[in-house]
Symmetry: C2
Subunit: 305 residues, 2 copies
Amino acid sequence: MSLLVVGSVALDSVTTPLASGDEVLGGSASFFRWWPSLITPVRLVAVVGEDFPAEHIELLRSRGVDLEGLQQAPGRTFRWRGRYLPNFVDRETLDTQLNVFEHFHPRLPARWRDSRYVFLGNIDPQLQLDVLQQVQRPALVGCDTMNFWLREPCLAALKQVLRHTGVLFLNDEEARLLSGQHSLVKAAAAIRLLGVEHVVIKRGDAGAMLFDEGGPFWAPAFPLEHVVDPTGAGDCFAGGFMAYLAHTGDLGLANIRRAMVFGSATASFAVEDFSVDRFRSVTRADLTQRCAEFARLVHFEPVQL
Amino acid sequence: MSLLVVGSVALDSVTTPLASGDEVLGGSASFFRWWPSLITPVRLVAVVGEDFPAEHIELLRSRGVDLEGLQQAPGRTFRWRGRYLPNFVDRETLDTQLNVFEHFHPRLPARWRDSRYVFLGNIDPQLQLDVLQQVQRPALVGCDTMNFWLREPCLAALKQVLRHTGVLFLNDEEARLLSGQHSLVKAAAAIRLLGVEHVVIKRGDAGAMLFDEGGPFWAPAFPLEHVVDPTGAGDCFAGGFMAYLAHTGDLGLANIRRAMVFGSATASFAVEDFSVDRFRSVTRADLTQRCAEFARLVHFEPVQL
């Protein structure tokens, strides 16, 4: 099944303790769209400027990303410049230029209105609502957001989005901000009351937690020898998660947990190299293999006294 | 099998965002010794001052802790005062008075020299070495430490301790400091080269990771609705871990993983109430039950594409 992805495409300039690069392929949709194409067709709705390199377009197309919804607008592409601190977790934004992204209005090609799996990347909740009005009967809506949208005047629109959201991806700080609760257990419960069926709390190098009818589930971050660039790890996680569900077409609780693990596996590859470089070599077999390693990472036999 | 515990006993004054208390039972051995007594006999080697409340002694004795190795020295008991920040993870030390602990020399009663399970709490590595010289043929030595001992002139003695250490407990910062490696995978590998068979890296509210022959294992921290006081959670983890091994007498890799889960369960109860208060009501059945909940927390079915 196709996965519709709406989000940002950017040219990132990133410095990590181990690597740096100027104007590499970035943005929430950019990281997201890449991985799903390994296991499921992707329909991308985003905007780039006139300066967006043709090679990036070609790369996406070659990976099976349908680009009919990619707008090319007069002006420059969204740019972000940031630097990671030595712990590879905290980062500082040095520069953000929205450019063409500032006036982005997602428009779905007519034939995409029947999309069953929809991922709303981290953009203005009003735009997320616009997208929801353009799709007919999605089986699952995934939504990403950030602290900026968690206060008025944006919060009201976000709450409308959440009423249609099956899976919400946010980090622990954002979960606390949205719910007013410090305990993540309580925060997730409060967010579920807003209409979200599955709350996924991303916790960086501690992994990701799922809260739904099936009780809490924790997919730790895969322990890696080499972390080169954590940029977009959260987006890759969401990408793997949504793609797994679109690919399998199974929204049962057990499969949602599998999607958590697949998302973690996806993210774990992403951070092993700079920007999207690691994507170029990873195969389906690698992903399946890492999921099996995840199973060993948390396996233990029953504890008896 | 008995578990020999050597460490500090303190009177703690702690403020957390939800509670505070003055001169409550604290110290690494204090938190440690409490839990093991639920499942295994404990032999405690520590020092307290003349001012140490008789009720604390009585409480320990009533839980089956053998106090023959508890020295009562002229002077005041070790005191620590600290405050947790709103995130319940970071804390600041406001005051430390070593008092009688400053001149502590652990002396084992003769009949304890045959102890098979030994836990060296976080004290001067030179004292940890002294203890090792007093035990005959331990089956397993567990060792806790902290950043203070990870530099010269203490480091040389610590490295001697590590050559006899089966399980080393330390946090991520300490693992990085000791190994000079940022990646925890690499850090653990370097520490294993120092002679430690099982490296346990405690990661606060992210849980604890085990690195040994069996490959990496991650026991997440149990997600709790109420965290009241995280003081001593790491000690309780180590306590549960060591007690489980002493109780079962099985040092196989699979059982070491179970001990990680039992330690996590122990710690998860500890933080639910202030100081050692939660210990008063917890039963073996509660511990077993929480271990089963841990199994559900990380359970997923095989991921296939």
